[in-house]
Subunit: 205 residues, 2 copies
């Protein structure tokens, strides 16, 4: 698995002309790191006298962040294999009309799946924004920049994953599916940009 | 070293209340991943007939990206120890006036160093933007989203590192140093936002 590589190796494998990890896995990792930073701010807040009033909120924030982090870490590897079904489908026989139709159907099914994985990354990473905002507003002020960086990593995860959704939509013929996913892309893109600006505006240094 | 941890562990250590890695290391990692993605686009372009006209440019781009990547990978761990001198200085004796003066001087020296490390991360990561732009404009079009994600990871690296510069500047008494670093922060922040928007505007999906 990609996530078993050490950090240095993982970066080096990314740079190579190996097919994976690509931008989709990097988007998921960016999200995982964003969730981890939001969780870190919460963990640096819990147990501190000065922050006793937000103790319960921060304990819950740390838990929520850990769940997002776990999902996003898994998405690093899930994204790397999201195209496997498409590749398999391309190798199906295409002699007869029946074979051609079966092959096209499998390719289309695979492409939809390949678009749905980065959509899941984007939707999961979007949830970081609420956590980062709470961390910046009410978390340990010594870690305010960490909360801000969490929001930026989350934004990059969402926008990066959605670019991969969009490029895959280009090969999908189901117009209703494409329309629905495109609408989701537009909504998430706009929302995450707005959210990130709101979080960053709360950091005054 | 942090970079010897596997990806999953590294993310988990980030989330914990361990002092490192914090946002500065994550910013450096974001930069390293951005450089790696720009390099990947170049490596997926070199050797392809269709891109023979940009072969030399892309080979050079891959080399330049590898250098930035190496520097930024090293900065993950360098950032994690950047505060060590400050922590040591805080433990110096402060009985006599002489001791107090020596201690203050060492703390100030350490703080300047702690601000200079994320500045190096920011300046190094900023160089990704030119590479990402070339990758998106002239690299393998199949990897255009990877070039765009490289630009976003670079932007987050620059802005994230600069937040850490700014928070450290708050403890530095040398006004000329603070003024110079603040000016650099403002220039880099504006430039990287502009650059990122330019790169993303070139991606039409």
């Amino acid at each position: 698995m990609l996530i078993d590589q050490n950090v240095k190796q993982f970066v080096e494998t990314t740079a190579s002309n190996e097919p994976v990890p690509g931008g989709g896995s990097i988007a998921a990792l960016s999200g995982a790191l964003g969730a981890a930073l939001a969780g870190m701010v919460a963990n640096l807040t819990v147990g501190k006298k000065k922050y006793v009033e937000v103790e319960a909120e921060m304990a819950k924030l740390a838990e929520d962040a850990a769940k997002l982090q776990e999902k996003l870490v898994a998405l690093i590897d899930r994204d790397a294999v999201s195209f496997d079904d498409v590749m398999k489908a391309f190798k199906m026989p295409k002699e007869t009309d029946e074979e051609k139709a079966a092959r096209t159907a499998e390719i289309q099914k695979g492409m939809k799946y390949a678009a749905s994985v980065p959509m899941e990354t984007a939707e999961t990473a979007f949830e970081i924004m609420v956590l980062a905002e709470a961390a910046v507003e009410r978390g340990n002020t010594n870690a305010v920049t960490d909360g801000a960086i969490a929001a930026m990593m989350g934004r990059t995860a969402v926008l990066g994953a959605l670019l991969n959704v969009r490029i895959n939509l280009g090969s999908i013929k189901d117009e209703a599916f494409v329309a629905e996913m495109t609408k989701k892309c537009e909504e998430l893109e706009e929302a995450v940009q707005k959210r990130e600006q709101e979080v960053l505006a709360k950091v005054s240094l």
